[in-house]
């Protein structure tokens, strides 16, 4: 005769031991992988994750900086390597409707499904086009905003295609004739 009670007790012990062992193994493993990057897991309401590239232009590595002189010839692509991240940023100058020029930068990942974007515009940055499913993005260059597009000034809004969200931007600051990236929203 098999003692069912004893059998079940042994099963519970075995199960509990296995679960405990697996948990003890997994916790540090998963923890080490995730802990330092926990911020990535809780994106903002916008779905964007802010990544600090530089605290200020003073301590920003020179390889991140783009000289304004270079930008005047047209948009410049930079692959910013921050910790484990690679951030594809396109720097450019937007000419506003008031005639002033604004240095800007955007993360060139399509907000639809994530393809790399092609820059449109010549000397000035005017927009992006996505090769994958055909989304187009255009910059709002009116200092008072573009209410008909529901876009704020310098927002890279969706002008056509399946994407629904504006491009994610990089906060920049100019110092000594160079544009420095401060915070990238990936």
């Amino acid at each position: 005769m098999i003692d069912e009670n004893r059998r079940n007790t042994i099963k519970i012990f075995l199960g509990a031991t296995a679960a405990l062992g697996a948990g003890m193994l997994a916790t540090p493993l998963v923890g080490s992988l995730v802990a330092e990057r926990a911020g990535y897991i809780q994106p903002q309401r916008t779905g964007a994750i802010p990544i600090e590239v530089c605290k200020s232009p003073d301590n920003c590595p020179e390889e991140y900086a783009v000289p304004l002189e270079e930008l005047k010839n047209g948009p410049v692509f930079k692959l910013l390597k921050v910790n484990t991240m690679a951030i594809p940023a396109v720097f450019g100058i937007v000419r506003a409707t008031d005639g002033k020029e604004y240095p800007v930068a955007y993360v060139s990942i399509c907000t639809h499904f994530g393809c790399p974007l092609n820059v449109s515009g010549g000397k000035y940055l005017t927009g992006f086009h996505c090769p994958c499913h055909g989304s187009s993005f255009i910059v709002c260059n009116n200092p008072d905003g573009c209410p008909d597009k529901k876009a704020a000034f310098l927002e890279m809004y969706v002008s056509s295609g399946p994407a629904v969200r504006s491009l994610r931007a990089v906060k920049v600051e100019v110092k000594n004739g160079k544009v420095y990236p401060l915070v990238a929203y990936v």
């Binding site: 916008t46 692959l79 931007a169």
Partner: protein, 410 residues
């Protein structure tokens, strides 16, 4: 010679292989092609593991970018002729380039792996459809096997996508970028799937670490899971039998189930023939329809127009282009979930074709959704929006306005 025979018999006896070789297989399942395609998929998997092993020895993953002369590219690999003297290519691309064009037999090795992958996916689809039509999930134990099958199908497509990324040609990098960012739609509705993927891989843009992870997943993690599930499945079929024949007459069905023959030599001979046929067919495909390596690409370069995904995901591309992303992201998930719950929905009635017409119709519609999208994707340039329900208003607080205070220069 005699001692070889003795040794063979000893092995059979000591490892109880005789029981396996002599296990009874119903005759109808050996004759009916609806029962063959699982084997085709399984054999493809072993051919993939074999060729994949050698590929893994020759392949080096990496995002490091090098300049190579444009003249080194094969004309069939590029979408539009390049105008520059040199092109940029990643380490991964150059290593697959080396395998393909500079290693003896490398071309055949890579093409064989690629075609075996295509064959495995095709066989898995046909197998799925066949078991759908037969209602194989209705017999005892059939539900569990169906469940394993859906998981295996999902893993197979998954494995193909991971493999497609490895050469880091333009199309592979696009696939990778989409894989790294697509799941972020879950983040918008409060489930941090995309964030978790970024946290685990460390980036939502290709880096060395990401490529390494994809490589390990493709050659170790996913094949290991497939192997375990496949083992379970074979075990379940070995002891649970195959699904009953699709006939209405109960007596005839019983007679057919009871009409068994031992696995060896009947089914064994069939399978041996199948393996050789499959290998020959694959070699013919390699010889007559070699697939291009596709062009290299490096971050910051312009993406040429006209890039299309490979055929196993073409149907999805079609729907993605037509439909709002908040809906289109869910399509594959719904397809997989529906396939999973089919055994729970379809419970009544026998297993003959005349009793199952409704579910056979559903099976046909299911395959037609995939087929329609695939064909459409190949033949027409899809307009950006086709259906009126394709746009959903953006939630007002989800757009990222330009951050910081804009300040002009000069």
């Amino acid at each position: 010679m005699r001692w070889l025979v003795r040794l063979w018999e000893l092995i059979l006896e000591r490892f109880h292989l005789k029981e396996f070789l002599e296990h009874p297989v119903p005759r109808y399942s050996n004759i009916n092609p609806l029962y063959w395609f699982g084997d085709v998929a399984a054999v493809s998997f072993f051919l993939l593991a074999l060729t994949g092993f050698f590929l893994a020895l020759l392949y080096t993953p990496g995002m490091a970018v090098k300049e190579v002369p444009t003249s080194a590219l094969m004309p069939w690999d590029v979408l539009h002729p390049k105008k520059t003297e040199t092109v940029q290519a990643t380490q991964s691309y150059l290593s697959v380039y080396t395998i393909t064009y500079l290693t003896p037999f490398g071309f055949i090795l890579r093409q064989f792996h690629l075609w075996a992958a295509y064959m495995m996916i095709m066989a898995a689809f046909v197998h799925f459809f066949a078991k759908f039509v037969l209602g194989s999930y209705k017999r005892k134990g059939g539900g569990a096997l169906w469940f394993l099958g859906v998981l295996l199908g999902f893993l197979t497509v998954n494995q193909a996508v991971l493999g497609y990324i490895l050469p880091l040609h333009l199309d592979g990098i696009l696939a990778l970028l989409i894989g790294l960012n697509l799941f972020r739609y879950f983040d918008y509705i409060g489930i941090p799937v995309g964030g978790l993927i970024i946290a685990l891989l460390g980036s939502n843009y290709p880096t060395d670490a990401v490529i390494k992870m994809i490589y390990v997943a493709h050659i170790l993690v996913v094949p290991a899971i497939i192997l375990i599930l496949l083992g379970l499945k074979i075990q379940g079929i070995l002891y649970g039998g195959v699904s009953p024949p699709p006939v209405r007459d109960q007596e005839l069905a019983k007679k057919m189930v009871d009409d068994k023959e031992p696995f060896y030599p009947h089914r064994f001979a069939l399978m041996t023939g199948q393996v050789f046929l499959q290998i020959s067919l694959l070699l013919l495909l390699v010889a007559f329809f070699p697939q291009p390596l596709l062009e290299p690409w490096a971050p910051g370069e312009i993406v040429p127009a006209g890039v299309r995904p490979p055929w196993p995901v073409m149907w999805y591309y079609t729907y993605v282009k037509m439909i709002d992303p908040f809906i289109s992201v869910g399509i594959p998930i719904i397809m997989v979930l529906f396939a999973l719950v089919v055994p729970l929905l379809d419970r009544r009635g026998g297993s003959s074709i005349s009793e199952r017409w409704l579910w056979i119709l559903i099976a046909i519609i299911y395959m037609a959704i995939i087929g329609y999208g695939s064909v459409l994707g190949f033949i027409i340039e899809i307009p950006k929006q086709i259906t009126p329900f394709t746009r959903i208003a953006v939630p007002p607080d989800s757009a990222v306005p330009y951050i910081g205070t804009p300040s002009p220069i000069g």
